[in-house]
């Protein structure tokens, strides 16, 4: 034979190690302490089949919006990074023309165009981000919440490219120094992973409504779409609501009354 088998195996072996990243062993030997999703449900837990939200912009003023944002970011240890390039946000204000691109027109008054809306992850029923994740680090729960497993995410950012709503943020560096007041009840993240709103799954588990809903003074309504008697179902049935980019088929679970 023209090639010694040993020589071939040497090269093949070396390239396989380069290819698969031999050092990953470290991560296997020291797996994360706990999976972010494994918050056990309390006796009072809210249970639903498909959680959804209706945001009634008519009832939301700027101050209330800011309160919703602050509450969310505070309890979830979302770092406050000034640099727009590295910004991390779970829920934030965006003007109508940018939140609903294509819906605006040139005759629309400036006040409507620039009307601030609250935007967050839509917890899509058919989430593109989940479809593309190579490790199932982002996945859809039974109750429709699109979750993140911070200990599994490899930081490839495929999900960020896939999400048509710009809902996801990446930890471009260690976020901990940017957390003003750490909430010990909720895990902080490390550099190199993706994060986003998770519909306060940890609050639902103990029977609480999501934090932004609580702060919104009734402007954000949260509930189960599969339950015809829930308030969200009733509103969706009777009022005109819109969703962001519904034509893309991701089936967002966040509805707006504008």
């Amino acid at each position: 034979m023209g090639i010694s088998r040993r020589e071939f195996l040497k090269i093949a072996g070396a390239s396989a190690i380069v290819g698969l990243g031999g050092i990953s062993a470290i991560e296997i030997l020291h797996p994360g302490q706990f999976e972010a999703s494994q918050v056990s449900r309390g006796p009072k837990a809210l249970v639903g089949k498909r959680w959804a939200m209706v945001i009634d912009m008519k009832k939301l003023d700027k101050q209330t919006m800011q309160k919703c944002i602050d509450a969310c970011h505070r309890i979830h240890n979302v770092p406050d990074i000034e640099k727009p390039k590295e910004e991390i946000k779970w829920i934030w204000k965006e003007t109508f023309e940018h939140a609903f691109p294509g819906q605006e027109h040139e005759y629309m008054g400036e006040d409507i165009k620039h009307l601030p809306l609250l935007v967050l992850c839509n917890q899509c029923d058919n989430p593109a981000c989940v479809r593309v994740c190579p490790t199932k680090a982002t996945y859809k729960r039974e109750d429709g919440i699109v979750m993140m497993d911070m200990h599994r995410c490899i930081g490839c950012r495929f999900c960020m490219a896939a999400c048509p709503f710009g809902a996801r943020s990446f930890n471009w560096r260690d976020p901990r120094p940017f957390i003003k007041e750490e909430n010990k009840e909720y895990p902080t993240r490390m550099k190199g992973v993706v994060e986003k709103c998770t519909f306060c799954y940890e609050r639902l588990a103990v029977g609480l409504q999501p934090a932004c809903v609580e702060e919104s003074k009734g402007a954000i309504i949260f509930g189960d779409l599969e339950d015809p008697d829930s308030e969200v179902s009733k509103i969706l049935h009777s009022k005109y609501t819109i969703r962001r980019k519904s034509e893309l088929g991701t089936r967002p679970s966040v509805y707006y009354i504008v």
């Binding site: 023209g2 071939f8 093949a12 680090a137 995410c153 990446f170």
Partner: protein
Amino acid sequence: MLETALKGSRTYWSWVIFLLAVIGVGFISYIYQFRVGLGITGMSRDVSWGLYIGQFTFLVGVAASAVTIVLPYYLHNYKKYGRIAVLGEFVAVASVTMCMLFIFVDLGQPLRVLNVLLHPTPRSVMFFDMVVLSGYLLLNILCGWYVLGAERKGVPPAAWIKPFIILAICWAPSIHIVTAFLYQGLPGRHYWLTAIMAAKFLSSAFAAGPSLLIVISLILRRFTRFDPGWEAIQTMAKTSLYFLIVTLAFYGFELFTAFYSNIPGHMHSFKYLFTGIHGYTKLVPVMWICTALAAVALPILIIPQARRNETALGFAAVATFLCLWLEKGISLVVGGFIPNPFERVFEYWPTIPETLITLGVWGIGFFILTILYKVAVSVKEEAIFDKYGERQVRV
């Protein structure tokens, strides 16, 4: 055979040391990135992939393009490629290695890369990409190394290798198609959401790959005694030409669809790339240089007299390669992210450490290529005649 890589001229060693230095600088920069995070790059919340993923995408194409040599040789018995088939396979080996490294340096949590295998997720295109790339790497190492070994012994390769060669030929397009699927299946990124993406990926790869091999062959002719063969070089030039034309046509189709349909979302990225939007113009020079390079390369490759001139051909090959590199290695990825889902513009430009890491990975690729080529050339210089009894070593 590997020992032949340890004996070389002064030029050879200077080149190797230069590459090692580039790799070293890249490695140090990577350590910095590893400690601080990907924040040291130009990427952002809005342009979340940049130079690294661009290089990955481009190099998958270069790897796949080995098929433009291997297929005519093994399936159509095109004898002129007999001498260089292994060169194509070794380019594939170096390119796939670089691809994997580019994915690796792009990860936020690189130590967790094995999660892709621990939690296999077939619905993710990224998972498939990993699988097909690893397979392709092994196939090319096997075929290239084995056939070269046979040549060294002066015996024809055994029959069992043939199925692997055929498999590698079929496998090659798959790696690039799957890479295109990474992009073209994403909702809401209009620049990528086009069925012609995979076809354009293949065509631009089959133009860029041969042009690289032309440059390499011209260098080998000059610096070693091994002659890849003038006719082989000319055939590669034609391959490169036809696929360059096809690629430009495909790009034209995209422009037509976007601008004749006049759908704003479809036009945005093109406008950003070629004219800039809202005064943001960072990529405009890139696109026009790219266009100019194509305009220079095309006539040289088309006009036979120019194509047969060694200097002109070398120039055209470099221009083609650079043009397609700018298109796929930079503008394709970045352009797809601009404007962002809110139709706002946040621009991207690579930082210095990011560029050094990128150069470092290229350095590793060229290092592998150099070693493999040194072995190949030594074997060929010793064999003197190619398989068909023609002299492959110049006197």
